[in-house]
Amino acid sequence: MPSKISLNVNGADHAVEVEPDSMLLYALRDNLSLRGPKFGCGLAQCGACTVLLDGNAIRSCVTPVSAVGNSKVVTLEGLGTPEEPHPLQQAFIAEQAAQCGYCINGMIMAAKAFLDQHPHPSRDEIKQALNDNLCRCGTHMRIVRAVQRAAGSSKP
């Protein structure tokens, strides 16, 4: 049966009425009307649904709401705003790093968690960090450049 579950998302507490074993992605998209996290596969294979859970990049399509507990969820919306975009968002815009853009949520969220741990990565380390995020448009070159730019290491 659906129950009221409290989620801390982008710095605010929200009560959502969902099945406890339903996945976080649907609560974020359908109950909280967020557009950052996307449904891509539902199988933890593509990364389109990536959000931060206490700073770690996780795949919300396979994370049950009941497993979130008191952890803090941050989505692409919580990273920056049109008025104050996050440096990663600025870098993706500056590099024009999107075609359809459907994968970009996952790229930015995965890069955010990665850069927090590795502020000065090499190009290869960035590629490794994003290797489980899929992009079908082939925007990879620009995505890598954008992460390099955000890390302040725009030279390879």
């Binding site: 199988l43 919306e77 815009i93």
Partner: protein
């Protein structure tokens, strides 16, 4: 052209149409950016017609708002390729209007003119001139209005960045927005013909391209900030009041029929609403996505169901698919008898008879898929004989017509509201999802949003077809090709029948099978004797539809690899060999430009082939003429003989699509084409057993990841000059890649691969044979 105020005033007497309401409120831009499709206009009671606007009226293309912003309306749509920005540049250029203040409404059928589907790299090429003329006519109309306003002749006026100035009187200026004063632009600009061939505003005087200031600039794309800041609404994000969630439950086997549905336990799923069953169409509808997913899973919609009766829906045991490893035999049989000549010169048959040095080869390519990252999604609200559809289809106007046929509803009662989807690279499942949603909405009498599960997309999106090609060539003692034969067996690349129509027992309600009039090869060599022919149009095994550069990706692979085979047989440098057999100046130019940027040194291919077992380096070259754009690609690769893995290090692309509207947008496209086509070359193959597709997720159908991207992609633009028209750029640079890699592998290790994908196992096997 009439441009009096009277026309415009009389228009204000009409009931507020949606368009005019928006203009009056200046709210159109806001409306389309709202999250969810219930902006102010949806509640506009005066809205009566959902017909498309008449192409001969200026307002069909352009609206100018009181705050001196403007909106361009186009039936073309964005698919991630940047055409929205490119078309806006074209319009802003002709209008003398600031690019930043020009918004673009795309695709929505009640708002836009049908300019044909957005496919085949044809948007800028064909819709560009239509929009250019409409905007030029718009500028002239605005000057006429200003001439009445200032009581001076139009040639005493000039327009700049959205403001009209009386020449020699700097104080006398008026903005477009003030001039138009919130009215609809009723002026007649004229239009004839349809879709791609439509001529708009035949009397317009567009600018001399050499004076362009906005076209040719690498302006940032309009859609990108929203996509990065999560303020952009994809069709997957649209929510409608009262909407339910649907999921499809597809047959276990492609042609299986539904035997029975056991609904036990479905009602206990919180939020479950009902099962929708019509013949072999099966779906579930629920209040939440999660409930719909749970219910569909119970009926059998899971990643790998164990058989036709694994779920509570029981399907017949259908096993009608041909064997996967013999699919090319099936392709040949299907196309037997049809023979369309592409080139016929001299007598190849005769020449083969008297030449000693002849070569023969067969090239094979598998089913491949579009593989959109976001699966197909649509919302339908069908109420009696009216329907509203939300879709990201690349052909909104066609989809609307198709749905009128499928639902048997008058065309004028259907509106398709277009929102961008995850990139599709051709016809994926988007059109089919509309039909799925509509059938479910009809059944439950509420708006239904359908999103395919990953396995629905991988399993049921229409595929690019498998192709088999036989080539034969003869080289004389001087190393010149004297005979060339290239026969292609290509199943239909344009099957537009709808899955839901077939499942509901009405397979031919809409749709056609054929080539869609798309060229599958451009043959440009000057061989004395040539016989190039296509055997096509048959349907084979799985539903197929166009996939980026349909069939030409495959035919270029065969043609440009086999040229290399002949060059190697003749002991010639592959670039010089091509140049010796070409007269097409633009082809020669891109080949030379690529070679120069790369630093090409002349030597026969494979001359340095290394079979020592150490990683071996090779280079490959190939080119294409796709729809009048020319592209030459050169790549450096390393073959690791131990693993069979291929690493692409450097790619150089020389690209001639004529005058470039947005150089950065073009580079983004070329990079994307290169990476996607590398993925198709190295990794991609749809697998299937006798009943169904078995590559149902990203493990079964891997695509290129970051670890395998090239170190660099260098791009040289050729003939980017005002005297050239703008040809297409969405696909051409996809084409040479497979041949480039095949040629580079041969150069590295002396082994010729004639079947994609070049997965490590296949490379290793070829090397050990």
């Amino acid at each position: 052209m009439t441009t009096s105020f009277n026309d415009m005033r009389s228009a204000t007497d009409l009931a507020l149409s949606r368009r005019r309401f928006l203009q009056a409120s200046g709210g159109l831009v806001v409306a389309f950016r709202l999250f969810g499709p219930q902006p102010a206009w949806a509640k506009d009671a005066a809205r009566t017609s959902v017909a498309s606007p008449p192409a001969g009226k200026l307002y069909a293309w352009l609206a100018v708002h009181p705050d001196n912003t403007a909106t361009l309306f186009t039936g073309k749509v964005e698919t991630g390729t940047g055409v929205q920005t490119a078309l806006a540049q074209i319009a802003a250029e002709e209008l003398d209007f600031p690019f930043d203040r020009l918004d673009v409404v795309m695709g929505t059928t009640s708002e836009t003119v049908d300019q044909g589907p957005s496919y085949g790299s044809m948007t800028v090429r064909y819709a560009g001139p239509q929009i250019r003329n409409a905007a030029a006519a718009g500028r002239a109309a605005l000057l006429n209005l200003a001439s009445e306003h200032f009581k001076v002749s139009p040639n005493q006026l000039t327009a700049k960045e959205g403001t009209i100035v009386v020449l020699g009187s700097p104080g006398r200026t008026i903005t477009y927005g003030k001039l138009v004063d919130g009215k609809r632009l009723e002026m007649e600009i004229g239009a004839s013909g349809e879709r791609f061939a439509m001529k708009v505003a035949p009397n317009a005087h567009p600018k001399d391209p050499s004076t362009y200031t906005i076209i040719g600039k690498p302006l940032p794309r309009k859609d990108i900030p929203g996509k990065i800041l999560a303020t952009f609404s994809y069709v997957q994000d649209v929510r409608v009041d009262g909407m339910l969630h649907g999921r499809v439950v597809r047959p276990y086997g492609v042609g299986a029929t539904l035997q029975s549905v056991d609904e036990t336990g479905l009602k206990s799923i919180p939020g479950f609403v009902q099962v929708v069953r019509r013949d072999n169409f099966l779906g579930v509808v629920a209040e939440t996505e999660w409930a719909a997913i749970q219910a569909a899973a119970k009926l059998g919609s899971t990643l790998h169901p164990s058989g036709p009766d694994a779920g509570q829906a029981k399907w017949s045991n259908w096993n009608g698919l041909p064997k996967m490893d013999q699919i090319w035999d099936t392709v040949r049989e299907t196309a037997e008898g049809r023979n369309i000549s592409v080139a016929s010169k001299g007598s190849a048959a005769l020449a083969f008879g008297y030449t000693k040095r002849t070569l023969k080869a067969t090239y094979k390519t598998p089913f491949q898929m579009h593989g959109s990252i976001g699966p197909s999604c649509a919302i339908a609200d069908v109420k009696g004989d009216h329907a509203t559809l939300w879709s990201g289809t690349q052909m909104p106007h066609e989809a609307r017509r198709d749905m009128a046929k499928l639902l048997d509803i008058p065309l004028d009662n259907i509106e398709l509201r277009w929102f961008e989807a995850s990139g599709a690279y051709g016809r994926n499942g988007l059109e089919h999802a509309i039909a799925d949603a509509a059938i479910m909405s009809q059944a439950v009498k509420r708006p239904v949003r359908v999103q395919w599960m990953r396995w629905d997309e991988h399993g049921w999106e229409p595929k690019g077809p498998p192709i088999v090609q036989d080539l034969r060539g003869a080289v004389d003692a001087d190393g010149r090709v004297i005979a060339w034969q290239h026969h292609m067996w290509i199943p239909t690349i344009s099957d537009t029948h709808l899955i839901a129509a077939a499942l509901t027992g009405n397979p031919n309600a809409t749709g056609e099978t054929g080539t869609g009039g798309v060229p599958v090869i451009t043959y440009a060599y000057t061989f004395e004797n040539a016989d190039v022919a296509v055997h096509d149009e048959g349907r084979v095994a799985l539903l197929t539809a166009w996939l980026r550069s349909p069939a030409q990706f495959e035919t270029t692979f065969a043609m440009e690899s086999f040229i290399d085979e002949l060059a190697a047989a003749a002991g010639k440098d592959p670039l010089a060999f091509r140049l010796a057999h070409l007269e097409d100046a633009r082809a020669i130019a891109v080949l030379k430009a690529a070679a120069e940027a790369y630093g090409w040194e002349e030597r026969p291919a494979g001359a340095k082939a290394d079979r020592s077992g150490k990683p071996a380096h090779g280079r490959g070259i190939a080119w294409v003429n796709r729809d009048d754009s020319r592209v030459a690609t050169i790549a450096d690769i390393t073959v690791d003989p131990g693993s069979g893995r291929i690493k692409v290090s450097r790619v150089v692309v020389a690209h001639d699509c004529g005058l470039v509207v947005n150089p950065d947008g073009l580079k983004n496209q070329i990079e994307g084409n290169i990476i996607q086509s590398l993925s198709r070359t190295l990794l991609e193959e749809v697998t299937f057993d006798s009943a169904r597709v078995t590559s149902l997720d990203w493990q079964g159908y891997p695509i290129l990841r970051f670890e395998d991207i090239p170190d660099s992609i260098e791009i040289v633009l050729v003939n980017n000059r005002p005297e050239y028209p703008s040809y297409g750029a969405g696909e051409p640079s996809t084409n040479p890649t497979a041949a480039v890699i095949s040629n580079a592998i041969f150069d590295a290790v002396g082994v010729r691969l004639r079947q994609t994908p070049f997965r490590p196992e296949r490379v290793k096997a070829a090397m050990s044979s």
